[in-house]
């Protein structure tokens, strides 16, 4: 199989380029893209990429595989390759540190903006803040986000305004705390989001839903934030 990899080492290269590798894959087995990268790394140790848990939990190996963002460790080669060719590029829109490694600074800055922690100004109870099963259910589909950045880097609104638009991942998390019955900062959180960029730069094209490796739905969460803003303001 032909594997084409985006290569860029800012210390050596003037510009990024695509490097082709021919690799013999073991027959009768559908490897994951990360396995292929590991095999290639044995051939050429200079190939750089992030990986850690290798089972879709840590979110380190988010990359663009034949045009679609996803986690290399849980994407089978059969699903990612087109015409027996696999094209691997870094996540789009973020600055490249080296090869498939991107600088996630801008992505984390947006995450930080939404204050991703519980805020509760009432006195802490003796043991813990209780939630009913129904209240807890509201967090399903929100808390599972692993911050791999596949969604935000698939979003044109995030590409054009990464400093102003929170992005699908950050907004999914924002709604996770807006929906939490134990959080008392709902009004402040909503006020922070009511500008023309933070939430409203989302035009609902659903690229985020299309690529999320955890099957989450940021567009729906953004719709819920909008509904909360409307209910508060009308």
């Amino acid at each position: 199989m032909l594997v084409s990899i985006y290569r860029y080492n800012p210390e050596k290269d003037d510009a990024p380029y695509m490097q082709d590798f021919e690799i013999e894959l073991p027959a009768g087995k559908d490897l994951m893209v990360l396995d292929v990268l590991n095999l290639l790394k044995a051939q050429d140790p200079s190939i750089s990429y992030r990986r850690s848990c290798r089972e879709g939990v840590c979110g380190s190996d988010g990359m663009n595989m034949s045009g679609k963002n996803g986690l290399a460790c849980i994407t089978p080669v059969s699903a990612a390759a087109k015409n027996n060719k696999l094209v691997l590029r870094p996540l789009p829109g973020l600055p490249v540190v080296r090869d498939l490694v991107v600088d996630m600074g801008q992505f984390y800055k947006q995450y930080e903006k939404i204050k991703p922690f519980l805020i509760n100004d009432t006195p802490a109870p003796a043991i813990e803040r209780l939630q009913s099963p129904e209240e807890r259910e509201k967090l399903d589909g929100l808390y599972e986000c692993i911050l791999c950045a596949c969604c935000s880097t698939a979003c044109p609104s995030f590409w054009w305004n990464p400093d102003k638009f929170i992005g699908p991942s950050g907004l999914l998390q924002a709604y996770r705390f807006l929906a939490d019955s134990r959080d008392t900062a709902t009004q402040d959180r909503l006020s922070d989001l009511d500008d023309p960029f933070s939430v409203f730069r989302c035009h609902g094209i659903m690229n985020c839903v299309n690529v999320c490796p955890k099957g989450l739905n940021p567009t729906k969460a953004i719709g819920n934030i909008r509904t909360m803003l409307i209910q508060r303001a009308t």
Binding site: S157, W160, N161, K164, D195
Partner: protein, 115 residues
């Protein structure tokens, strides 16, 4: 919170709502005009100018005209903040759009009322 002074209503929610309300007005107006033209295949000049002489039609048309202004302002502002990164060029483009919309609204009032 991102501060913006060139957007239509400063608030993201207000802009979002106005974009949708104006779109609704424009949709209703377009359907009405197309429907009127289809239902009156042998339309005469007198009939057409008579339609626009009624106060209700003038109110409806002015509402549609203001909606065009608001809708295009919010839309083009959005496009300009996405694609034009140089502040000077972006502000010039936004000012130009604002001017064109203002001209269209004033001109439209003049046409509607036959001033």
């Amino acid at each position: 919170m991102v501060t913006q002074i060139t957007s239509f209503g400063r608030s993201g929610l207000y802009d979002w709502m106005m974009q949708r309300v104006s779109a609704l007005v424009l949709a209703v107006y377009s359907i009405f005009i197309i429907g009127y033209l289809l239902l009156n295949p042998d339309l005469t000049y007198e009939q057409w100018s008579g339609l626009f002489e009624t106060t209700s039609m003038r109110i409806f048309s002015l509402l549609a005209l203001l909606s065009v202004g608001i809708h295009s302002w919010i839309g083009l502002w959005s496009v300009s903040t996405d694609y034009i990164k140089a502040t000077g060029v972006r502000f010039f483009f936004q000012s130009l759009c604002g001017l064109v919309m203002f001209i269209y609204v004033v001109w439209g009032v003049q046409v509607l009322w036959g001033l």
